[in-house]
Amino acid sequence: MKNNSLNRIWIGTLCLIIPLLGILHLFIGEIHISFPEFLDSIFNYSQHETSHILIWEFRIPRLIIALIAGASLAVSGLIMQTLFNNPLAGPSILGINSGASFFIGLLILSGIYFFNTDIGITISALMGSFLFGMLMLACSLFVRSNISLLLIGIMISSFIGALINLMQSYAEAEKLKTFFIWSMGSLQQVQLDQLGWIIGVTLIGLLSSFLLVKPLNALVLGEKNASLLGINIQSFRVQCIAITAILCGTVTAFCGPIAFVGLAIPNLSKIIFKTQNHKYLILTNILLGSTFILICDIIIRLLESSILIPINVLTSIIGAPFVIYLVVKKRS
């Protein structure tokens, strides 16, 4: 009971912190925006005011995409970790991000304009993530050991990395630049008219992840025990990969490959909330993931005038030491 009330305090604090960070995120930046200007832009939008355009075209989309990216990546990481019964699993390690990258790379570098729309980008990223998710799943049927599975994931990632490099060496300079910028990851690539589409798709993904609470909880005991508890493992696996692909694919398509959030946040939320109940874990991952990306992006915005840090770089800088800490702590 003591633990429960502590968790409630944490959740309450996060729910308070996120709007505060959100407001901070909106107002930080090279161009100063005052509060009246902000209110004005919401209730009295005018196309001729630069500050209004700045708020609607840049600041608000960036804020929303930060929240969505954090929540989606954290939840897909959680699902992967439970599915593979491995705290070091995550969309970036298991080649799901790379799958999306590969398809996006194919798209940008080959210059097929047929698919060069929002829907086209999303669909190809989804296809990439889903395909490589299924590939990992197929491997997991033959390879029982978690370590081997992680190794296969890492190998697939580097294999795809090599393929992308190969494509890059044949691509034209202009396309190469587009792809390079995409691969660094940015929360600023999304435009206002794309937002509805992204919100819709990720919301479906996040909500349907709550449908997996029961099988996810049972899977903590391993696949055999979950199956004895009446869970249909085969269909559950496909559902997991589908939801992860939706969440991770969409975010990767629009923000580039953002590493380590999917790996670090689910572990962090287990450490903080000390539970294996996925109803709470999904919720806390949504909150913690959003908070984490918001804080990262606020740091990026604060440093923007002196140094430009891509989001992928910052999450790795913070995430990698954390993962090392986890491994060391697990050993001792």
Binding site: N3, F210, L211, V213, K214, N217, A218, V220, L221, K224, N225, S227, L228, L229, G230, I231, N232, I233, K270, K274, T275, Q276, N277, H278, K279
Partner: protein, 235 residues
């Protein structure tokens, strides 16, 4: 409840055969035999994890392969040995997973479920550990918890693979007596594999002995230790 018709048990190679055997409600059996003779494989076959090579295994007069996973989870619970614990999974949450087959789509635990969970923790005497994380408990305590989880699943058939392995003498006795009581009171079929022959003889639990020599399983309800040993372990 469970009937075997000319079954051979094993993975690819037949380990042993069961000609005809019916295990009825309200009975508890000890499965005994040499290491590697196929005790676990038999238990796994009854709960549907592996298929018998030939023959028919019926539960409630219906072939086992005609049951879905979900249906089977209402009939059979399986307690394995050596649960290592999961970080941040409390003893209570672990036992409550036994209720999974009965929960709605969202996995919410209702009040009546809570009562069942608390009762099974109480029966096994581990109520005081409810809030402890399972990886912080001892092997024996985890073993008891696994049994509590099976009681929680409340199935007519309970299979236990060496449930007494990690327990002290007192707890071995206690668990066997408890299982006997449950078998009788709730009219269940309980099969447990064990190497603790003496204690099972003391408790007068009928033996299912797998003889490696004849590759046969036979039911023995005489408690003559030397005879049991010559059937199960003689060359």
């Amino acid at each position: 409840m469970i009937s075997f018709n000319n079954i051979s048990i094993g993975y690819k190679k037949t380990l042993f055969n069961i000609d005809n055997l019916i295990l009825d409600k309200g009975n508890m059996y000890v499965l005994a035999g040499k290491n590697g003779v196929g005790k676990s494989t038999l238990l796994k076959s009854i709960c549907g994890l592996t298929k018998p090579i030939t023959g028919e295994l019926l539960i409630d007069n219906k072939p086992i392969h005609k049951y879905s996973n979900k249906e089977l989870s209402h009939y059979c619970s399986f307690v394995e040995t050596g649960f290592k614990g999961v970080p941040y999974l409390t003893a209570f949450d672990y036992v409550s997973l036994g209720r999974t087959p009965y929960l709605n789509r969202w996995g919410e635990i209702q009040q009546n479920e809570l009562d069942i969970i608390n009762k099974s923790l109480d029966t096994i005497g581990l109520k005081k550990f409810s809030k402890i994380h399972t990886n912080k408990l001892s092997d024996g305590e985890r073993q008891l918890l696994s049994i509590a989880r099976a009681l929680c699943q409340d199935t007519p058939i309970i299979l236990l693979d060496e449930p007494t392995a990690f327990l002290d003498y007192f707890n071995k006795k206690k668990i066997l007596q408890l299982l006997k009581k449950i078998t009788f009171e709730s009219q269940k079929v309980i099969i447990l594999s064990s190497h603790d022959l003496d204690i099972c003889i003391e408790e007068k639990i009928p033996f299912l002995i797998i003889s490696e020599k004849d590759k046969k399983l036979s039911l023995q309800s005489e408690y003559d230790k030397s005879k049991l040993i010559s059937i199960g372990f003689g060359n």
